[in-house]
Amino acid sequence: MIDRLRHTLTDALTNLGRAGWGGLASVCTIAVAFLIVGIFLLLAQNLGAALAQWRDQYQVTVFLDDGITADQLALLKKRIANEQAVRAVAFLSKVDALQAFKKELKGRESLLEGLGENPIPASFQLRIRDDYQTPAALRQLAAFLSRLEGVEEVQYGQEWIDRMAAVLKVVQLVGLSVGVALGLASLLIVSNTVRLAIYARADEIEIMRLVGATKMTVRLPFLLEGLIQGGVGAGLAVALLFGAYRATMYQLQMTPGQVYGLGLGSFLPGGAAGALVGAGAVLGAFGSLLPVSRLLRA
């Protein structure tokens, strides 16, 4: 059994060598297709990660009246915390808010000099439960909160998060359709290449059949060849993608850590990369089996 497998594998490799340019064409086709699919995957993943992080960081901010009393503040905090949609509440005092603002203006603090009194209001920073992160629910929450005593204004960054989500959806959709189209195209090209290879080897297949080869015996080397071609093609694509990703990070002068702070800059997880290679192998195998099966039926 192992002997036989080794035989078949050796055969497949020998035949790959014999296939030469045709085999290379298959590998390249699959590589290009998977490279493009990989780019979309990477984009979608990074956009998704960024979105998740932004969602978590920037949620609803409740700005408070400057004249709010301590009692009112305590009551307000209690009411907000009791809201179903609210996961966590953090208080940001006027002083802290100014400090934070100054930090952001680093080097240009002079801009604040003419202001005299601290113009920045105190606020509650709200984190929202995932199931309430819909535009409608947030609008409702904001409307409710803005009516409470001591509340100056309620802000939430939902609009552009929504816009980001829409972009993500488009990227996913385009990626999916491009992926399916390219997958089909490479299936056709691979099976065509293999068909040519099979015509070149029709004699061999005929003899194998005539001396009593089972269909499986005839198919197996082709199956393995397709598997290897597809896997190598997709592997090449993942390697290229990784190279391009690292080069881009370098161009942006960002270390992975820095970029990660923005929710950006993670490469495809190992599982996804493995799945891509696996999908390539399956595609290659199918591309090879189609024409062989047709020949065996004839």
Binding site: D3, E206, V211, T217
Partner: protein, 223 residues
């Protein structure tokens, strides 16, 4: 070993390759299928190893009805029959050794056992020294012997040889015939198709003569 009953094979509408052919070849026989080119010899052989199905009629090979054989049992029928093809069907891009080893692999032999078998058969046909040659570098007689060796890889019960002396001079033809007789002496049933009447006269014991798809003579005893 081979029994055929009322075989008809018609191509298209009106090309009758075989007409009401019946024959019996016993186990261990050395039989000839004689007749001019186009008499239907090759067609009859192809029906026996079921490269084709008859239009009507039945064929039994070693007691099994070939016509009704399910597709998945076909490989096992073919493994019990060795065929020397008229055009040899040797792979041009492989060495003699690789041509034979291909069969070993199809039969699922272990690598070492396959190698031994190939070496043994090349010795039998006297071609051990040409194992690494490419078929087109061989003479016609040598190619013919490679084809015979390949047909024997599966230790067949039946050897079918289609014009095995076709393009050979008398001396080489005699070599091949000696080889086939030797194989027959070891118990393999041999059926040789030939148009060469001299050959039939010299070696023929059981002879079936085909003409225009019909058996016109059936004489002798192949033992």
């Amino acid at each position: 070993m081979i029994q055929a009953y009322h075989l008809y094979k018609t191509y298209g509408r009106d090309v009758e390759a075989l007409v009401d052919v019946s024959l019996h070849v016993e186990k261990g026989e050395f039989a000839f299928l004689a007749g001019p080119s186009g008499a239907g010899k090759t067609t009859l052989l192809r029906l026996i190893y079921r490269d084709e199905l008859p239009t009507s009629g039945q064929i039994l090979v070693n007691g099994r009805n070939v016509v009704k054989l399910p597709e998945r049992h076909l490989p096992y029928l073919r493994r019990s029959i060795g065929v020397v093809f008229q055009d040899f069907k040797l792979l041009k891009d492989r060495t003699v050794f690789e041509n034979l080893a291909l069969v070993a692999r199809v039969l699922g032999m272990r690598a070492a056992a396959g190698k031994r078998k190939v070496a043994q058969l090349l010795r039998l046909v006297g071609l051990s020294h040409r194992a690494n040659a490419i078929p087109y570098k061989l003479s016609g007689g040598e190619q013919q012997r490679v084809a015979v060796a390949r047909a024997l890889m599966n230790d067949p019960m039946i050897l079918l040889a289609d014009e095995p002396t076709g393009n050979l001079d008398a001396e080489l033809a005699a070599d091949i015939m000696r080889l086939l007789r030797e194989i027959n002496a070891k118990g393999t049933t041999v059926l040789v198709a030939t148009h060469d009447q001299d050959l039939v006269r010299e070696y023929g014991r059981h002879v079936l003569v085909l003409k225009q798809g019909r058996v016109v003579e059936d004489y002798g005893d192949g033992r």
